[in-house]
Amino acid sequence: MQFRAYIISLFSSLMLMGLLCRCASVNPTGVYDPIADQMMTTLHQKLTRHFIQLQTKVGTPAAAYAQYIEFYEDIKVDLASLQLRLSVPSERSIPLQQLQKLTEMVQQWEQLHQMGLDHVAQIKPVQASFDASFRALLTYQMALLQHQKHQKE
């Protein structure tokens, strides 16, 4: 009888350990993904080019929102692809939450662009915010890569 209780207790412990391991595999930090890293860099380049172009055209009809509809569509496709990729390991990972904030920023900037731009000073704080976000995203990707290398050693 005592042995039976021991077996049940051992089995329960193993079940609990298995459950904990499963929970632990949902990693909130996310994992390093070189393709996602490259996609983020490409997205940053596209947005930087966009802001530089706008700064040279602002105040002219060439800076109007209507001229940039295709650009916003393209960026939204990139964001959706990246979101899908990052949601595969975990739906609550830090990189995925960061990307959701970045997506909101693009939507908010699009609204501002629709309202009209007439001076370069209207672009600079937004460009600086996007730069800060990408610095944060890429700093974190680098940290994930270092962490992964450290774990393999």
Binding site: T29, M105, Q108, H119, A121, S129, A143, L144, H150
Partner: protein, 110 residues
């Protein structure tokens, strides 16, 4: 008026961050300092735009929302760097005890 209080604002934000992340502060400090400074500078630019009449209240709100979201991205990185630092410390501690425990138990631990 943010401008006169800008330096104090950055300092207060950094102090609040340090309080919350004291155990990993040295790891995240350089990144946090740079980004908090950049955040406050951006707030000043937005304030200037509104004072110069280049943006209205609705636009100012959108500018601030963009700023807030950018700062959330930054804070998420700081949070992640903190977790990774803790994981690294745990791994280091585990590496120290792994060999003696393996020797004592006679079988390989993960």
């Amino acid at each position: 008026m943010i401008a006169p209080a800008a330096e104090g604002l950055a300092h207060q934000m950094l102090q609040a961050l340090q309080r919350e992340m004291d155990n990993v502060w040295e790891e995240v400090k350089p990144f946090a300092q740079t980004e908090v400074k950049s955040f406050v500078e951006n707030l000043l630019l937005i304030e200037q735009l509104q004072q110069q009449g280049r943006i209205n209240a609705t636009q100012a709100q959108l500018y601030l929302e963009i700023q807030k979201n950018a700062m959330r991205v930054v804070f998420l990185t700081i949070e992640g760097l903190g977790i990774l630092a803790v994981e690294k410390a745990l791994q280091a501690a585990w590496d120290v005890i792994r060999a003696p425990v393996q020797a004592a138990l006679g079988w390989t631990l993960v």
